[in-house]
């Protein structure tokens, strides 16, 4: 369970200082699929970065099963990331000089996962496992990023606009892969997007504006 209380984050200095997160509080249960919706500049990516430990908050707390994130040292934070989280970014961030299989091993080795090929198979890239990122389409690269993230068997998966750089059809395919795997493996999934259509598949939809949560909608379907 992730308990977020009164989270605040500022950017800039002096007169240009502004509040990117303004007292955000929310509780996320294990195995939930949360979608964070909001326009550009609403604070949704900052929220994701802070709750995932990519950047520190300026106030408030983020507790993972009673472990407070901002109390962890750099070493403990690294171990926390190693044992608990995985990320999928809009820009994939694959390692360009490593082929598909080796990129996926980046995640798999952290969990000593010898069975990582099944993730490459699950995202439909078995035939291309020896290809390099530059030889793949955008959709395929994002599927590699998914396989890499899932191969470390995360407890929480963070996704920042994972389909933002893809066309609608490919984006839908990629999303279907992720949701299918989340349902099979039961990890918690927190996804940032500005695409309202994606939200219909989530358990809960959190809408953000000006650094605040403006609504939380349960999805009964």
């Amino acid at each position: 369970m992730i308990e977020i209380k009164d989270l605040t984050k500022y950017y800039g200095k002096g007169e240009s200082r502004f509040k990117a997160l303004d007292g955000v509080s929310v509780r996320i249960e294990d195995g939930e699929f949360i979608v964070i919706l909001g326009a550009s500049g609403s604070g949704k990516s900052t929220f994701l970065n802070v709750i995932s430990g990519l950047e520190p908050s300026d106030g408030g707390t983020v507790d993972y099963d009673s472990r407070q994130l901002d109390k962890l040292s750099e070493k403990e934070l690294t171990k926390f990331r190693r044992d608990n989280t995985a990320y999928i970014f809009q820009q994939y961030y694959l390692l360009p000089h490593l082929n598909v299989e080796k990129n996926v091993r980046m995640g798999a080795d952290l969990d000593n996962n010898k069975d990582y090929l099944k993730f490459i198979e699950a995202v439909g890239l078995s035939e291309k496992r020896k290809k390099f990122p530059a030889e793949l389409s955008g959709g395929e690269q994002q599927r590699v990023a998914i396989a890499r993230a899932l191969a470390k068997n995360p407890k929480v998966l963070f996704l920042d606009e994972p389909t933002g750089a893809l066309d609608e059809k490919t984006g839908r395919q990629v999303l279907d892969y992720i949701i299918k795997l989340q349902q099979e493996q039961g990890f918690t999934m927190i996804m940032v997007t500005h695409n309202g259509n994606i939200a219909e598949t989530a358990d809960r939809i959190i809408k953000m504006n000006s650094g605040k949560i403006v609504s939380v909608t349960e999805n009964s379907a």
Partner: protein, 378 residues
């Protein structure tokens, strides 16, 4: 102009390299030309023998140090240009997309010749500062009575003007070659696929594979790391021997040049490898790899090259001094015995291990400071 004047500040490695090369070469070449001018004045066999030995020394030192440093400078320039094009591929891609010709873009790279000019000019002036003491030391027994310092314009042309022009041309030609790739590749920063794609399951761990991949992607840096430890090993050991074979000043000069070259080259190589892998390091840290893993992946692959460089440096300095003593100074009286100095070698090795591993450790720790959020939001 794609390359601005302020970009040449980043090429200080080239300036330092050319400065060292020109200082050494001008000292010895100026001395050589001044010696040849008094060739006819040697009327006794001692001064003739001394004169011949000095001429030979000047030739050997210029060929060895000047040649070696010139080759390294060319490699460094090629490396800088490739690195510059890689890191500015988007801007270059935009210019190409707007219709700028490859030559028009490549012309801007001639600015790199300025870094050579700065280094050469400083080295040239520095050599004249050191010259009175150098002449005095070379002729401390007073065999060559008529020896005095003269300005030789030909040396100014050969050591300052010519390298500047040649390096500017090399920079333009090399850039032209590197720019011959599709505009879209430059815009997207597409990296060519490397390595063989064997259809078998890889046994290497991710960290081991990453280490090999970092080495393969920046092969030039292997040369720089090896060169850095080569300089450290050869110059420090040589400077210790020079104290006996030549003079303390000569020993000190070699020691300073060696240390400056070694640290400059190592700094350039290590900062380049870290900068070019910044996103990969950030991604590793996001996934939970610690700084020791990052260091193992990015820096440890260069360790064998560093130690091989050290060994080559030790052998090189021994071979060079052996040649000097056995061939160049053969028959010259008063030249001390020269043997490989094992104690100095072991001390240098111990210092090298501490310094090299210490620097690598410090750089490994610095990877913690790479801002994750900034990299991920680029």
């Amino acid at each position: 102009m794609i390359v601005s004047i302020k970009d040449i500040v980043k090429l200080f490695g080239i300036s330092i390299m050319t400065c060292c090369a020109v200082t050494v070469c001008n000292l010895f070449l100026n001395y050589y030309l001044d010696l040849t001018a008094i060739a006819d004045l040697n009327d006794n066999p001692y001064s003739q023998m001394f004169y011949d030995a000095q001429i030979m020394t000047a030739k050997v030192v210029c060929a060895v140090s000047g040649g070696c440093l010139a080759i390294t400078t060319v490699v460094m320039l090629f490396f800088y240009i490739k690195h510059y094009i890689d890191s500015h591929s988007k801007e270059i891609g935009i210019l190409k997309a707007l219709g700028y010709s490859d030559f028009k873009i490549a012309k801007g790279f001639s600015v790199f010749g300025l870094s050579v000019f700065i280094g050469c000019m400083i080295g040239y002036l520095l050599s004249f500062v050191l010259m009175p003491q150098f002449y005095e030391l070379q002729n401390e027994d007073g065999y060559l009575l008529e020896l005095s310092i003269h300005f030789h314009w030909i040396l100014f042309v050969l050591l300052v003007i010519l390298p500047t022009v040649v390096f500017a041309v090399i920079a333009v030609c090399n850039s032209l070659l590197k720019l011959r790739q599709p505009c879209v590749n430059l815009l997207k920063g597409i990296v060519k696929a490397r390595g063989k794609s064997k259809n078998i399951r890889d046994k290497k761990t991710f960290v081991a594979e990453m280490r090999s991949s970092v080495l393969r992607s920046r092969k030039t840096l292997v040369f720089f790391i090896a060169f850095s430890s080569f300089c450290f090993s050869a110059m420090i050991q040589m400077s210790a021997s020079m104290k006996d074979l030549s003079s303390e000043m000569m020993g000190l000069m070699i020691l300073i040049i060696g240390i400056v070259l070694a640290f400059t080259t190592l700094y350039i190589a290590v900062t380049t490898v870290i900068r070019s892998n910044q996103k990969n390091i950030a991604m590793m840290r996001v996934f939970g790899y610690d700084s020791a893993d990052c260091k193992r992946s990015v820096l440890d692959g260069y360790r064998p090259a560093a130690y091989i460089g050290f060994v080559i440096g030790s052998v090189y300095q021994y071979a060079l001094l052996r040649i000097m003593v056995d061939i160049v100074f053969a028959g010259v009286e008063g030249v001390p015995e020269y043997e490989f100095d094992f104690p100095v070698c072991f001390i240098t090795l111990a210092v090298f291990i501490v310094v090299y591993e210490g620097i690598m450790f410090a750089y490994g720790q610095s990877m913690k400071r790479i801002p994750l959020k900034q990299i991920m939001s680029e």
